[in-house]
Subunit: 221 residues, 2 copies
Amino acid sequence: MSPETQIENRPTKRGPRHVARQAMEERILDAAAWVFSQSGYDGATMAEIAIKADLPKANVHYYFKSKAGLYSTVLSKILATWLDQMNAFTADQDPAMALKRYIHGKIELSRVYPIPSRVFANELLHGAPFIDRELATDLRDEVDRIAEVFKTWKERGRIRPVDARHLLITLWAATQTYADFEVQVDTVLRAKAGEKAVFQAGAEQLTEIVLRGLGLEVPRE
Amino acid sequence: MSPETQIENRPTKRGPRHVARQAMEERILDAAAWVFSQSGYDGATMAEIAIKADLPKANVHYYFKSKAGLYSTVLSKILATWLDQMNAFTADQDPAMALKRYIHGKIELSRVYPIPSRVFANELLHGAPFIDRELATDLRDEVDRIAEVFKTWKERGRIRPVDARHLLITLWAATQTYADFEVQVDTVLRAKAGEKAVFQAGAEQLTEIVLRGLGLEVPRE
DNA sequence: CTTCAATTTGACCATTTGGTCAAATTTCGA
DNA sequence: TCGAAATTTGACCAAATGGTCAAATTGAAG
């Protein structure tokens, strides 16, 4: 058995076919996220997604059997990104620093991934018919964990008592809004959203209000 | 000319025909708001709206020529409701009281009108293609006015300097979320949203954090 | 070079949708 | 009561949509 054969037999697929397939799937997913974010699930059409991906419509269906599958994949990916960031929120940190990092990080995600963020918001708005399972398991678990973090902080006298769940709801709403409701942000600020400075200013004021609101000092750095 | 004739000639239409028409329009608008909130603009069908209003589809088209017109009417009505509430926000009040009232009032609107609220959120999410004009005029004017209120407070030393526009964005996001993303609220709280207690708790904690965050005392009453 | 699975693509289809229309019916004012 | 205007409603239609399919093409492995 030659070394080459050995390498090619490893379980993780690496053939050129597989690599090309993954690239094509990503290309289609990007196009789909864009179209879903513009038109919602029902408003989006496979034809438009195909045009955006610069592929014949039948080819899109070759990679993703149904519109629903395509949509669910977009949702799962952005949810995973958010859960991953929440994971950095731990009890061993200083509450003020942890919150500041979380707020800034979350707003940064809004800035970098506004498109899937809007797709997700649309899904929630309609009662999460496609992603309800993942919400009730993965998200709920993560929220429970963070609630424990706040409980720990409270017991150690590091933070004033606060309802961690309502606080998370507030933080999500306030951070997501810069991605999801860009038109509203434009209108209110009389400026072009999407600009880095807008996100920066939003993150800073939100951090300051929330930290002071919880009786914490705003960390310098 | 008899008195009756006099009365019936007044410009404000009051004939039984007109009253019946208005009742029918409201009935259709309610049904439409419901369906739009569930399915979005494209996902909603005139057939479903007709069923919800318990009318033949052609009859819905008799009162509202197009789906777009029906949708725009739903949007305008809820925006007017919000602008009306913002109008109570004036410089002559105590900042803490004004903010507390605004937050509680806004969350109350979320509780009472969750359905049109979601329709509006959906519209914003997709870039406000139908209501962009009203945003750029009515909403912008009202925001400018409130920015002036904060400026006045600051000059009188009644409040610490704060970016009123970013603050409004935060308040809207945090109050709307209880109506718009009910599924998420359910998941996070492990409870049924829509319950009055949830809105009450959310309003109180949000008020406390924001007021303290701005260096204000939370009013007793 | 051959082979064969993977991929590409145009043509096609059943279903759904917003909207129209004309005929039937109801209702209000005179 | 009568006539005109407003309303109601079933039937219908053109356009759009998600998805299918079979024939053609490609490209990696032996």
